[in-house]
């Protein structure tokens, strides 16, 4: 199995796709490598968050996704 990476909002345009798979375990350094330089740069921004297995990480650098986890890359939101 693997980790599924989901790109939300403007990160879909930057990454050029809506999702991808990566080998588990996936930590912060491997995530940056997997998504490509443009998306990696965006992920460094403070207002971009990461969720792993349905939970938003308080510290995204501490990411450690396991087999079967879904990692969501969350740019600034805008609703209503």
């Amino acid at each position: 199995m693997a980790v599924r990476i989901v790109f939300l909002g403007s990160l879909q345009d930057i990454a050029g796709r809506e999702e991808m798979e990566a080998a588990a375990p996936l930590d912060w350094a491997r995530l940056l490598e997997a998504v490509g330089p443009d998306c990696a740069a965006a992920l460094q921004l403070e207002r971009v968050h990461i969720a792993c297995a349905g939970t938003v990480l308080a510290d995204k650098v501490a990411l450690l996704a396991q087999d079967g986890d879904e990692v969501a890359l969350l740019p600034p939101v805008s609703g209503g």
């Binding site: 939300l8 938003v56 740019p75 939101v77």
Partner: protein, 147 residues
């Protein structure tokens, strides 16, 4: 009554708010905010995307906080997702309470958090293509009022 929903189709406001209001006999007041997709500045279509595992749970959590913070008898929070035409309702928040201050403030609180602290991403299609929308500075100022 607590009614928190994501809807992928247009909704009829009267069918939402009528039953909600009638569900609270003895209420003092109901405050309702309805946001519509603005037209007029070249927007042809608006699309709201969400992230299933977070968006609805986040709205439920927001409702929990509203019930904890204000004296409410009921709260309705409905948000559209998917593609929408200008003029269509995109969000509706309604709060019923014994006192108007609680009803009005709860709607204000929920709207501020739906706008810039919930898991939605909005983009607009104009003549030159799609544009992602980020919260305005005033949206950040609005949410900061709640501490």
């Amino acid at each position: 009554m607590r009614d928190i929903r994501l809807l992928s189709e247009p909704f009829n406001l009267g069918l939402l708010i009528g039953p909600f209001t009638h569900a609270h006999p003895g209420l003092g007041g109901v405050c309702t905010f309805v946001g519509e997709v603005r037209g007029g500045d070249g927007v042809e279509l608006l699309e709201l995307s969400h992230y299933e595992p977070l968006t609805l749970p986040g709205m439920e959590d927001l409702a929990d906080r509203a019930f904890a913070r204000f004296e409410l008898m009921g709260l309705l929070m409905v948000h559209r997702i998917g593609p929408m035409q200008p003029g269509e309702p995109i969000v509706c928040v309604s709060a019923a309470a014994l006192h108007r201050r609680d009803a009005i403030d709860a709607v204000d609180f929920c709207m501020d958090h739906l706008k810039s602290a919930s898991w939605f991403w909005k983009r607009e299609k104009r003549a030159d293509g799609w544009h992602w929308i980020e919260p305005r500075d005033s949206d950040h100022a609005d949410i900061a009022r709640w501490g």
